[in-house]
Amino acid sequence: MNAWPQHLVVVPVVLPLVAAAVLLAIDEQRRALKRTIAFACLVALLVAALALVQAAGEGAPLVYRVGGWPAPFGIVLVADRLSAVMVLLATVLGLAAFLFACARWDRAGPRFHSLLQILLMGVNGAFLTGDLFNLFVFFEVLLAASYGLALHGSGAARVQASLHYIVVNLTASLLFLIGAALIYGVTGTLNLADLGAHIPAVAAADRGLVEAGAAILAVAFLVKAGTWPLCFWLPRSYGAACAPVAALFAILTKVGIYAVLRVLLLFFGPAGGESAGFARDCLTIGGLLTLAFGAIGVFGAQELSRLAAFSLIASCGTVLAAVGAGQAAVSGAALYYLVASTLGVSALFLLIELIERGRAPGADMLAITAEAFGSPEREEREEIGVVIPATWAVLGLSFVACALLLAGLPPLPGFVAKLAMLDALLRPQPIASSSWMLLALLMFSGLATVVAAGRTGVRIFWAPEQPMSARVSVLEILPILMLLGVGVALAFEAGAAMRYLDAAAQVLHAPGGYIDEVLR
């Protein structure tokens, strides 16, 4: 029997599905109606996600047994603290992307709102599911929607980038299936909690198969997470996608990270028998390399969209490396960082489009060439009292906020997150060498972001080549301010948020209670 709060768990999956179906049936011309329905659904989803965070925070994970079947036989949806927070984050990004798109992008192609709802359904489902094959299905749902959204607006660059994106993700899906089949072949179950209970007891002869299966699964997840060397598709696809879509795609890499954390820590947690801690070193090394790659990419990025994409890669690397350290306290801080950096990157992707709109195409490239070779035509002009238009000031301040958030400088939550991570990393004695490397790389990536953002910011806002004329509607600034506002709130309520995510990390690292609750 499911009590009322447990039905809450299925709402973030069912609601967008119904909304998408209704939206499909409405003619494209009736835009106001479509927007109203989509907006109502997103607000309801936000309320449900907040209630879910509240309910999951009370302790034991909420388990929803679909169709009332007992756990290892039926499909379960499980909402623990981590899932609930990720659903909330996805919904906030969805709302921001929706508001931004309403200004003009939803007219650039058909069925934008339906695709957005289906993407949210897939993302929420992937966060909530407690079944390996179900996870595959939700991955496919969100990928199918993301293909449509990546192509939204069409044009040669988008089609070309989408072609690569689709092929890479289809291949990753095939790897996912191979991994899932291998694990099923050995253990005879696909329920994540049941797998967590079974894997410690797998016979020594079959252990290699399970580990191979889990490793193949992890490769499939890491492709989506954008881990080096599986991330070369990411900057191009995200850079080519239109702004609201790119902002929403910031959550897709987080789905990959979430899946890695959930699956690896559940299968090979401390109680994992002989395989305990399997692949943790790979996670650390992969994370460190990804962080280094992302930081260097940020450093060398000539276009703003590439800067945003590489900082997304760097943030993924940070989280993976921190979780690879294998301590709950570090993971808790890493989850806080994940939320904060996702908000920052998402806001930056939205901001980029507004900034680029007021500038000539290719202005970044020209400016860099001019810096390198000296620009002949720029002479000292008399500039006394330049009037800064209000919109441009808002954009500039938002850009500064994004940069501070991503670089991890006070007062925004990026700083709190990095501080907490470093504090937890340096607490155990003796300090592992990988911790020192992570520390150094975190400092370097922060510096790289500050330098890159500073360089770009100065060029755009203080020394523009031509007068800026950004025509921006309120509807487009609002979501950016909303995302940054959530970030600021996260910094003000850092204590409560950190406690919550710390508890989430404790469950990740000691999944015994999770397994018992699902299989009860």
Binding site: F133, H164, L170, S173
Partner: protein, 115 residues
Amino acid sequence: MYELVLALAIGVLAACGTWLLLRPRSFQVVMGLSLLSYAVNLFIFCMGGLRSHAAPIVPAGPPPDPSLLADPLPQALVLTAIVISFAMTALLLVVLLAARGLAGTDHVDGREDER
């Protein structure tokens, strides 16, 4: 004997699929993905164990010996996987045609190698 034939079939399909996937023409990539998905589908199917003359359905009456029945779950999984990969291939073909039309070449990078 059956096991060997099936394993070889999966291996040949996967090898051909991987090779085609790495080719520069987009049609080859689609064929490669199709072959790979066949290999994966067969792989999932055989993960339930190879049996002949065993139904995945429990007959009415007293519960039969489970070792006489085939595992129904991989069959259900493979059905889902086939449908999904079929739909995704169709979608990829549309994108491929659009890319071909826009770029004027069927090279996956949208331009020919400079040679």
